[in-house]
Symmetry: C2
Subunit: 196 residues, 2 copies
């Protein structure tokens, strides 16, 4: 019918995701984004209508990708419940190290956006809240299984433990952005496992 796009929408979203991830929403200009992805601004605006809309799409994509990672680890049938939680921490700690090795900055877009935008942008807050609820539900399920298997003996309720694990992951992310090395992050994760 008409002239087709010459760029892959998901590739733009991935690039935007990395840029917002590394520098935050406010500090990333649409010109930076377009230069990084090799596109003209009119093409981007034509496809995504606004900087904010582009960011929300990138955030939604990030959330989906990491959510897939999360459930893959937390539903792994080859491991026992606490091994899965331990593996989750491994993924976080190792991911921080890998991101740093590969030139990407530390931290994660979820935490960064919670800190920078969730108080001011209701739509971003909604995306983050849905993601949080999914993560907490997955964690609660593993914690319930861990209790049934006798691996988790904490007297705290499932929701509290799930929020605790999630908070420690956020704390690890912040610590990594604060310059902590892999050994320190590993130590934080080990302490968290002790609490279960």
């Amino acid at each position: 019918m008409a002239r087709p796009r010459t760029f892959d929408e998901d590739r733009v979203l991935d690039t935007a995701m990395r840029a917002f991830w590394a520098n935050g929403y406010e500090a990333t200009s649409t010109r930076d984004l377009c230069e990084a992805v090799g596109l003209d601004r009119s093409s981007v605006y034509n496809a995504f209508t606004s900087k904010r809309e582009l960011f929300l799409r990138a955030l939604a994509r990030y959330v989906d990708l990491t959510s897939a990672d999360l459930t893959r680890v937390l539903d792994d049938p080859e491991r026992s419940p606490i091994e899965r939680i331990s593996a989750l921490f491994d993924v976080v700690v190792e991911g921080e190290a890998a991101n740093r090795r590969e030139g990407y900055g530390p931290g994660c877009l979820t935490v960064n956006t919670t800190v920078e935008l969730s108080g001011r942008d209701p739509e971003a807050a909604r995306i983050l809240e849905r993601d949080l609820e999914r993560r907490l539900e997955a964690l609660r399920a593993v914690i319930r299984a861990g209790r049934a298997a006798g691996e988790i003996t904490s007297p705290r309720d499932d929701d509290g433990l799930a929020r605790f694990v999630n908070a420690v992951i956020a704390g690890i992310r912040v610590a990594s952005q604060g310059g902590a090395g892999p050994a320190s992050l590993r130590a934080i994760a080990d302490c968290a496992l002790d609490a279960l």
Copy 2:
């Protein structure tokens, strides 16, 4: 000798601190700041030379104020070591609730700046790192005392435990910014205490 200032420098720093705290560095304009404090931009630039310099001063002030709070709680001779750590969590959880009640946003400037700026601004990173080292040292001291008193039985080393406690505090801050209520924050803190 000459015309004196008509404003209190610390009052400007406090207002700037709150503004940066609530909206972040990039999203806070010097015009916003001047309107909030009722000053002209030339006065602010005359006193603080640049937006970045003003921010760094405000951050340094925030760090000093909270550091004083921290040592007051962690060195309280009327409590046992573990009670002091518990009291520290109390301060954090209660502080989040209080800030929300009083119209200030959740979270803390230290965590926010770590996330938004520490990767891009070496001077900000330096301030945050010094503060981190102070906090970890205070925590390690309390943890050592807790071990001597038999209250802390974790096999993890002091530094790991200190970093763990600090990370959980950051996690609580992020959780609060993500919309978690006081009960949830309290639960996270309780789980952290179990690990010691």
